[in-house]
């Protein structure tokens, strides 16, 4: 059973546009929400993460928005670049554990 639901499955954005990927969860015991970026032939790399005590976290062009009451969080990529083309996974971690629960992934293509 998928504990973290991610959408869309794929996304095409023009260079300079905003890419938005959404995730939702049910288990209120999750307390750490990372996003991973994966390029072909590579392992997932941690991009940015948030805890539920804040509603937004920004690192450069990447922003996580977190809505605790709705149990949703999203990744915004501002000024999207062709080099951002990759698969993005959201994940959630229980406050008592180490094992990540991953969404199904979003394949992002940024066109020139």
């Amino acid at each position: 059973q998928q504990q973290v639901k991610q959408s869309p499955q794929s996304l095409i954005v023009q260079k300079g546009g905003i890419s938005i990927i959404n995730c939702a969860y049910e288990n209120t015991a999750f307390d750490y929400f990372p996003w991973y970026q994966q390029f072909p032939g590579k392992g997932p790399a941690l991009l940015i993460a948030i805890r539920p005590d804040v509603s937004e976290k920004k690192e450069g062009r990447f922003t996580i928005s977190f809505n605790k009451s709705a149990k949703q969080f999203s990744l915004h990529i501002m000024d999207s670049q062709p080099g951002d083309s990759a698969t993005y996974f959201c994940a959630a971690l229980l406050n008592s554990g180490y094992a990540l629960n991953f969404g199904k992934g979003t394949s992002l293509l940024v066109t020139p």
Binding site: G41, G43, P44, A45, Y98, A99, K104, G105
Partner: protein, 114 residues
């Protein structure tokens, strides 16, 4: 973050054989995990590799099929036993370096079974 090396990076194996994948970290880590990522799919946790004791397996994964060792705080192996084409996947090692630290992944082993 820790540097994680996995060997082999890829392999093509015959049905019925076994392959051992190694994961080496350049520093001592708290936790080590093994994931499977089937083509175009998300990551599924196989097991937590426990140092000096038996691994903790997730539902659907068993020790006879995926024996795991972790002899020290920097090294672990995953064996995929009696392989079938359904085992064709990317197998990824990940580590946590300490409490409240994020999880980092190796680049994986791409395994194809003929």
């Amino acid at each position: 973050s820790a540097v994680i090396s996995q060997k082999p990076s890829r392999d093509i194996c015959q049905r019925g054989t076994s392959l051992t994948i190694q994961c080496q970290v350049d520093s001592q880590v708290t936790m080590m995990f093994w994931y499977r990522q089937q083509p175009g799919q998300s990551l599924t946790l196989i097991a937590t590799a426990n140092q000096g004791s038996e691994a903790t397996y997730e539902s659907g994964f068993v020790i006879d099929k995926f024996p795991i060792s972790r002899p020290n705080l920097t090294f672990s192996t995953l064996t995929v036993s009696n392989m079938s084409p359904e085992d064709s996947s990317i197998y990824l090692c990940s580590v946590v370096t300490g409490v409240n630290q994020p999880q980092h992944f190796g680049d994986g082993t791409r395994l194809s079974i003929l």
